[in-house]
């Protein structure tokens, strides 16, 4: 067990490599009422081409499948996961982003029982053509809901302007057309590749006992063969796709987003580049900068103006 300490805060947390291959991070917070647990996999919307050491060739899957898989995992063969959580009083949820999918719950009681539910259902995929067809309808509605969100649209339009081939430019949920190509078999292919415990992390914070997490982990986690996953690099050029995209929507006033395409970084260099870039952006256009003040006082921006460093496997863009 590795202990990570901060003496100024008087806080510490623990990191364990479980015998199953899972990385477990534990942050006990005594005196609090609630516990939060997140069980995540390093698999997101950008992972549309991949292979393992056992595959000869790369396989390509439809856009939106990581998010689709997230929805489907909640449907057990026997019952709905939300019904299981309801019995323990836990509040469960999940999300898919560009590079990860996470399943989480918070609770103030019956933590061990809720943790068991979490670990069990994420490790028990159940996909059939009937359940896939039903979810296509629900996710289709989710996609249309986001079509009306101007902040979401301006962000993805920016990504489409910056990136030529990289799937980061595609909506995390895919499109109505792309999700119509998803099959139960493809879901199992993705699940068996990425939901390998060696590719996953369990993180727990709040009022809990470390021994409780370890005992549930020992009981519930299955042994997974340690496979190597290779993710495609997508042949992304240094040049942008196009300098500008404008879309009309019924909005009260325009939104804009400006992005700069940089070469991607990896490993420790990525961490360094992220902080350097964020500092540079705050100096140039943060709320104490002369530029921010000039634009604010001339009415060009308001308090929603902000910046971020957007990065992942094969992409790095100050926005």
């Amino acid at each position: 067990m590795e202990i990570i300490k901060n003496s100024r805060l008087g806080e510490s947390y623990f990191r364990i490599k479980h015998k199953s291959g899972l990385t477990i991070i534990l942050y006990p917070m005594k005196g609090y009422s609630s516990v939060y647990a997140t069980f995540g996999t390093k698999y997101g919307s950008v992972d549309t081409e991949f292979k393992t050491n056992k595959d000869k060739d790369f396989i390509t899957v439809p856009a939106g499948i990581a998010h689709f898989l997230e929805h489907k995992l909640f449907e057990n063969e026997d019952c709905d996961v939300f019904e299981l959580y309801a019995k323990t009083g836990a509040s469960g949820n999940a999300y898919t982003s560009f590079d990860k999918t996470c399943y989480l719950f918070s609770c103030t009681d019956k933590f061990k029982e809720s943790l068991k539910i979490l670990l069990d259902f994420v490790q028990a995929p159940y996909f059939t053509e009937q359940t896939v067809a039903k979810e296509q309808g629900i996710i289709g509605q989710e996609i249309r809901m986001y079509d009306d969100n101007p902040g979401w649209r301006v962000f993805f339009n920016l990504l489409n302007a910056l990136y030529v081939n990289h799937p980061v430019k595609i909506d995390i949920a895919g499109t109505v057309d792309s999700i119509s190509e998803i099959t139960a078999e493809l879901l199992y292919d993705c699940y068996n590749t990425f939901y390998n415990l060696n590719n996953m992390v369990l993180s727990v914070a709040g009022n809990f006992e470390i021994d409780d997490v370890i005992s549930v982990a020992d009981e519930c986690l299955k042994q997974n063969e340690n496979i190597t996953i290779e993710r495609s690099t997508y042949d992304e050029p240094d040049t942008i796709a196009q300098p500008e995209i404008t879309q009309e929507l019924s909005v009260a006033f325009p939104l804009f987003s400006i992005g700069f395409k940089a070469k991607p970084f990896y490993g420790r260099e990525l961490l360094k580049a992220t902080y350097e870039t964020k500092l540079a952006m705050d100096l140039i256009a943060g709320d104490t900068s002369p530029l921010y003040r000039e634009m604010y006082e001339s009415g060009l921006i308001n308090e929603t103006f902000s910046n971020e460093v957007f990065f992942g496997n094969g992409y790095f863009a100050p926005i």
Binding site: R8, Y32, G89, E142
Partner: protein, 419 residues
């Protein structure tokens, strides 16, 4: 953890909750007044003017730098509404003093900043500076218009304005575009002075440090304010329509929104808390399990009870062709509750969900502050634990009675433009 409450002036109270677990503290000064179309925008504009500078630090960049020096302290002006009341709040959030590198008392520094922003704002010739005012006026107009950018928020606000037409709570918390456009720095300065003179002022401190010095500080600093006729908190009495009002609005949208607004004259708040959870408040509620999961009619379909307007709202995102089917099923599920068709599991799951949320309230300074402010509005001082006990005692019969008391007041639909 209980609430410490002390009256420190005419219509001014200091409230505090301390908990040594917290690493950050919050002080919020809430100025509470009745929502009124003539003053809502002016009050909101005043909030925008107060959080960026003060008479000692009139330059906004210098003000941001000062916040940075105080380890990233934030000072934020916020406008909200509870029932018929508009609340103009100035909030400071800051780290606990024990984490400061050189032993600075961040708590008192932040209190001082808040005091200077609220009681000694940057002024020119006795009013808010023109140049700064014009910028914030445009920002306010943008904020009022911004509802349109979020169709879910927009549709709920539109439904509310129809449900409570003619009543203070129908007014948007920021007022209207028309009243905002007519604002001048003179009228906003007058609104600011009126708030200081007549609003009920509730100062809330939630943090890990002792509050005695803060109470003393604010009592001294607020003693110099000339107070007039303090309005107090405006309670809610709403008219219930005899027939449902149906409103359809068309905009260019991919997904339609539907809001069903119900009103009640029942005072059984805890029964409504359970009703809302059973009906549409959780992923195992009747609306989620039936309207979304079984019938796939909506991507989201949820209910929310507001005790300050004695209303319950169901809102959903729905495909245009499913609007009528969704409406019928939403009403069918309510009818089932009226007929006491509530399973033991549904009641148990609702109570456990409520218990989970209430127990967790104390883990966040912001959540706890919001909790006790709502208690002040309800003229009670119950802790989350006490409310949990009351909710736990609610029976199926009380839930059914609460459902029977609901009258469908308004159905609002936002849908696509006709081709």
């Amino acid at each position: 953890m209980g609430l410490y409450r002390k009256q420190i002036g005419k219509g001014i109270c200091f409230n505090a909750v301390t908990d040594e677990r917290y690493k950050t503290n919050r002080i919020t000064v809430n100025l509470i007044t009745t929502l009124c179309e003539e003053t809502a925008s002016a009050n909101a504009a005043a909030a925008n003017m107060l959080d960026k500078s003060n008479s000692k630090i009139p330059d906004r960049s210098d003000f941001s730098i000062r916040l940075g020096e105080l380890y990233g302290t934030s000072v934020t002006g916020v406008v909200s509404k509870i029932g018929n009341n508009q609340i103009v709040s100035l909030a400071a959030s800051f780290i606990a003093s024990k984490f400061a590198f050189d032993g600075e008392n961040i708590k008192l520094e932040a209190a001082g900043l808040l005091r200077d922003c609220l009681l000694s704002p940057a002024m020119e010739d006795g009013k808010f500076p023109e140049a700064a005012f014009e910028i914030e006026k445009n920002n306010l107009i943008d904020d009022i218009d911004a509802d349109l950018n979020d169709k879910r928020v927009y549709s709920v606000n539109r439904a509310t304005s129809v449900m409570f037409e003619g009543e203070p709570c129908s007014i948007h918390k920021l007022g209207t575009r028309q009243t905002a456009m007519a604002l001048t720095s003179d009228t906003v300065t007058k609104a600011y002075n009126r708030l200081l003179s007549e609003a009920q002022i509730e100062i809330m401190y939630v943090g890990c440090e002792d509050y005695a010095d803060l109470c003393e500080y604010f009592e001294k600093e607020f003693s110099g304010i000339k107070r007039g006729n303090v309005g107090g908190i405006c309670g809610a009495e709403t008219k219930i329509k005899t027939e449902t009002e149906n409103v359809t609005e068309r905009l260019s949208v991919a997904q339609s929104k539907m809001v069903l607004g119900f009103k009640t004259d029942s005072e059984d708040r805890e029964a409504f808390r359970l009703l809302s959870a059973v009906y549409g408040g959780t992923p195992t509620s009747k609306l989620f399990m039936n309207v979304r999961e079984k019938m796939s009619l909506c991507y989201y379909c949820a209910s929310r009870y507001d005790r300050f307007t004695k209303s319950l709202v169901v809102e959903c995102g729905v495909e245009n062709e499913n609007i009528e089917k969704a409406r019928a099923e939403i009403l069918n599920q309510l009818e089932m509750i009226r007929n006491s068709e509530i399973s033991d599991d549904e009641m148990l799951f609702a109570k456990l969900s409520i218990q989970n949320a209430l127990k967790a309230a104390g883990d966040s300074p912001g959540a706890l502050e919001g909790w006790y402010l709502s208690q002040i509005f309800a003229e009670t001082s119950l802790s989350p634990e006490q409310v949990n006990e009351l909710a736990g005692a609610v029976t199926k019969q009380r839930v059914a009675e609460a459902a029977k008391s609901l009258k469908l007041d308004t159905v609002y639909v936002l849908t696509g433009e006709e081709e």
